[in-house]
């Protein structure tokens, strides 16, 4: 059974200016532990799709089925927002503690888990800092840490690195791969950056826009560690770029 099964999901926004058919219908499945990337130009409904999976948006049609935990419990979903959405009035430590506190996990365990997560993400020295004192990259890192500390079964990421400069974003991509090697988290990552998609994903689904629908499914068969300069890597890049260009010129 797939970790997530999405069947003919679609969404239309009704605004005063008229109807915008933002998404779908879109259907796909993802296996447990897989890293799936949605690649598409701006305004193709990527965010809408992610929000619908997370339950933040009610789709017009279609169904989202997320596999429950092995023990039969509710699946835990993590969501990394484009702007991080850290709480500015809380320290980084308190931000990471928030989801554990909400789950009523006892204080000692809480502290332990937050500290080891901060350590893993290289954020230990910023534990008592506030979000506005951090650089953009560190903020996104903290936002990622806040999602991972809940040990999610499914991690949804909405262009989390798109507002960062290239170096920082590549650094975070490496971090993310490193972290995911240790856990068996299923990930859906949304981006408009082709290179990012090829570097991170096991499978790339290309979305065309208005309405967003899947126009290409590509499995990225590259060995670890991936090199951005290797020939197979650039082959994927060029091939996806062509699909991308044809979409934009449509």
């Amino acid at each position: 059974m797939p970790a997530l099964k999405v069947t003919s999901l679609s969404k239309t926004y009704r605004e005063s200016a008229g109807e915008v058919h933002a998404l779908g219908p879109v259907s796909f499945e993802i296996e447990a532990g897989e890293f799936l990337c949605f690649l598409g130009p701006t305004g193709c409904g990527k965010t809408t799709l992610l929000r619908a999976i997370a339950g933040l948006e009610k789709p017009d049609t279609g169904e989202v089925v997320i596999q429950s935990r092995p023990g039969g419990g509710e699946p835990v979903i993590g969501y990394v927002f484009q702007q991080g959405a850290l709480f500015p009035w809380m320290s980084i430590f308190a931000n990471l503690e928030f989801p554990l506190k909400a789950k009523k996990i006892i204080q000692d365990t809480r502290r332990e888990r937050v500290e080891s997560m901060l350590d893993m993400m290289g954020l230990s020295s910023f534990a008592s800092s506030y979000p506005h004192q951090l650089s953009g990259g560190m903020r996104q890192r903290a936002a990622l840490a806040r999602s991972l500390v809940m040990e999610p079964d499914l991690l949804l990421m909405d262009e989390p690195f798109s507002s960062l400069d290239m170096r920082t974003s590549q650094e975070l991509q490496d971090n993310l791969r490193e972290l995911l090697k240790r856990a068996s988290t299923t990930v859906i990552f949304v981006t408009h950056n082709i290179e990012e998609a090829v570097y991170l994903a096991g499978k790339v689904l290309v979305l065309g826009h208005r309405p967003g629908r899947i126009v290409r499914r590509e499995t990225i068969d590259l060995q670890d560690p991936r090199s951005r300069l290797s020939d197979p890597f650039t082959d994927y890049l060029v091939s996806l770029r062509k699909t991308f260009e044809s979409l934009v010129s449509e």
């Binding site: 933040l56 709480f87 809940m150």
Partner: protein, 216 residues
């Protein structure tokens, strides 16, 4: 004397205004139900209500409220706390506080509410740890306006007949005695204390304001 009266009236306004504002901000039903009442009551000048509130509360003071009748003819702090006056102070202060609090609750960013939901927080937890802290700067703004109003109201109220204490009373009394030096000095003191109030609340609210305004 004026300070004690304001402290009482203002604390009462804050104690009632903040919870009412929080409820009105958080729940659409409560807001619908109460907003007409608030909007009708708000423009009513507190001073205009002074005679009415004296009729309602008689000239009752705190010493009577606590059954300390024997204090009645002594010069005593409790004896000077006329309920009517406290009531109009409350009236003057409570609306800016309610409105500020509503504003604060409603301007919580949707992104933060969604994040809280995804992170597994239920409604009560979100309210305590997300809505209230993010509304704090606006609540402080409301408190600042509220205490300014209270201060204006008390001076005017003390100038009306029925009091024989307080700085407003001093202004009127010195005027009657043609002691304009005392009158002017009192006015300056009033201005100074008023400024002190709002500066004090401002510095209290500063921290939360700084944190919120710096976010991106």
């Amino acid at each position: 004397m004026s300070l004690v009266r304001v402290a009482l009236g203002f604390s009462l306004a804050a104690l009632i205004g903040i919870p009412v504002g929080l409820l009105m901000g958080a729940s659409r039903h409560v807001r619908k139900f109460l907003s007409l009442m608030v909007e009708m009551a708000r423009p009513l000048s507190a001073i205009a209500l002074l005679p009415l509130s004296i009729i309602i509360f008689k000239a009752k003071t705190f010493s009577q409220l606590f059954g300390l009748e024997y204090l009645r003819y002594q010069k005593n702090l409790l004896n000077e706390m006329q309920l009517g006056m406290i009531f109009i102070l409350f009236w003057g202060g409570v609306f800016p506080i309610i409105l500020g609090t509503i504003q604060g609750v409603r301007s919580v960013r949707k992104m933060h509410l969604e994040a809280a939901g995804i992170l597994g927080a239920n409604r009560l937890f979100t309210f305590r740890h997300v809505i209230v802290p993010s509304a704090l700067p606006d609540i402080f703004h409301g408190l600042k306006l509220g205490i300014g109003r209270c201060w204006m109201v008390i001076i005017a109220a003390e100038m009306l007949p029925g009091t024989n204490s307080g700085i407003g009373y001093l202004i009127r009394y010195s005027y009657q005695l043609s002691r304009y030096d005392i009158m002017l000095a009192s006015i300056i003191i009033v201005a100074f204390i008023g400024a002190l109030f709002s500066k004090g609340l401002e510095s209290l609210g500063e921290k939360s304001l700084v944190l919120r305004s710096r976010e991106r």
